[in-house]
């Protein structure tokens, strides 16, 4: 059961951000325990156009860190994404 470290960095203008790995809310960041194997990261955030959300998840199964740099594109005030990951 690997210990996974999640950091969530919301840039200027972000009004709210949610980050889940499977059904676990990891929005606050920190260390979490997940089973070895395939999982899914999901994120949603709101704010002004240009607002950024950066998510870092480590270690993946190959020991690397997954970094997700996302941004709200004009003219929208929401952004979301999904990413398959393996621990």
């Amino acid at each position: 059961m690997p210990q996974i470290t999640v950091t969530v960095s919301a840039g200027g203008g972000v009004q709210n951000a949610l980050v889940h790995i499977d059904d676990t809310d990891v929005s606050a960041g920190g260390q979490f325990t997940f089973s070895t194997g395939a999982h899914s990261a999901h994120w949603w955030f709101a704010g002004n156009p240009g607002s950024t959300l950066t998510i870092a998840i480590s270690p993946l199964s190959d020991g690397s860190t997954l970094t997700i740099p996302d941004v709200i594109s004009p003219p929208y005030l929401f952004e979301a994404g999904d990413k398959n990951i393996t621990f």
Binding site: G11, V14, S64, V71
Partner: protein
């Protein structure tokens, strides 16, 4: 004197803005991917520029700091905004603002005037500090990707591979929303609609509180003796706001209602008075009498939206405001059309009140914000 004040303001504002750019552009630590795909980085850079001048009047723009100057036919104001997100959609911010000039009398005296561009805001005449707390919440639980969103992502990836290298497209795969915005923007609204379901036609809501305290220095004349006098006052304000994001995915919009109670002070209208003296007639122009203590109950309805016109994004932030205590009304219509790095960073604003009538102004370093008042 006015030129000196502008020059001093520029000397302060420009270094602060430059410093913020330098700080914000410092590369983030990234163990796996030292460089993101160019479009994503460009978008990140755009957001950096936007941080410089975040909408300082926003009740919910807590996560940023910025500097802004607004100049109109009746008033000029500079402000600095500090703020930070807390958690679970809660933000706070503090705003320090000050007029760059005040009304001048022909005698050289000065008097604060209540002529902020068509806002009826009684605290716009002097220095003021405003503290805001706000929450922003999704009305429905956001949804994870489904077959429809995956199909949109796959189509955008295919378009990317046609126009760019596989390596570049693979890197953008970590931010599918950016990939879609860049290569298949027509599908973006549909993509967001799947992820952010509406409830009763509303996607999200915001609510918040704010309190302000100001400082005004008035100079006026005694109506009979023409003796010059001064008075310092501390106007106060507190209020609340509530807003919604309707499910208009193609034309994102934030609609907000606010209510504020203000105890403000207004200079007496400028006038010229004459009296007989031993050597003839003596005249004085200026404000006669102590400033009036004026309570205000401001009700405001605003809507902020950004959309394309002739291939270019423009932003609008119209606001209707009504002072229920004094039966005064006004409207402002900021129009953002000046682009920098594809962000809206300024424009013009027009307004009307039944006291100041029509005003027109320019906004510099005032990026469009959905969450402005």
């Amino acid at each position: 004197m006015q030129r000196v004040v502008w020059a001093l303001t520029a000397l302060i504002v420009i270094p602060i803005a430059t410093m913020r750019v330098a700080l914000a552009q410092t590369p983030a630590t990234n163990a796996a991917e030292p460089s993101a795909e160019s479009a994503a980085m460009e978008a990140q850079s755009q957001s950096t520029r936007q941080v410089i001048g975040r909408d300082i009047t926003s009740p919910a723009a807590g996560a940023v700091s910025g500097v802004q100057i607004n100049a109109s036919t009746t008033s000029n104001q500079a402000a600095i905004n500090f703020g930070a997100p807390l958690s679970n959609g809660v933000t706070w911010s503090a705003l320090l603002s000050s007029p760059i000039t005040t009304g001048s009398t022909s005698s050289g005296g000065s008097s604060a005037t209540n002529t902020n561009i068509a806002t009826l805001d009684g605290l716009a005449n002097g220095a003021a500090a405003t503290f805001k707390w706000s929450t922003f919440q999704f009305l429905s639980k956001p949804a994870i990707g489904n077959d429809d969103t995956r199909a949109i992502e796959a189509k955008a990836m295919a378009l990317c591979l046609k126009k760019s290298t596989k390596d570049a497209c693979d890197k953008m795969d970590n931010a599918p929303g950016v990939l879609i915005s860049t290569y298949d923007p027509d599908e973006k609204a549909a993509y967001l609609m799947e992820h952010f379901p509406a409830l009763f036609g509303i996607v999200a809501y915001s609510a918040g509180l704010q309190a302000s305290v100001g400082y005004n220095s008035f100079t006026y004349y005694n109506a009979t003796s023409f003796a010059k006098a001064s008075q310092n006052d501390a106007p106060r304000s507190f209020g609340a706001h509530a807003g919604i994001v309707p499910a208009w995915y193609s034309v994102p919009t934030f609609i907000d209602f606010s209510i504020r109670y203000q105890q403000a002070y207004m200079a007496q209208p400028s006038a010229t008075k004459c009296k007989s003296v031993t050597s003839g007639i003596s005249c004085q122009t200026g404000s006669f009498g102590i400033p009036a203590d004026t309570d205000k109950l401001l009700l405001a309805l605003s809507g902020n939206s950004e959309f394309k016109v002739f291939g270019k994004y423009i932003g609008i932030s119209p606001q209707l405001i009504y002072d229920a205590r004094n039966k005064q009304e006004g409207i402002t219509f900021p129009l953002y059309f000046i682009h920098s790095m594809n962000s809206l960073i300024g424009g013009i604003t027009a307004g009307w009140t039944n006291t100041a009538h029509f005003t027109v102004g320019v906004m510099v370093g005032a990026p469009f914000s959905y969450f402005g008042q």
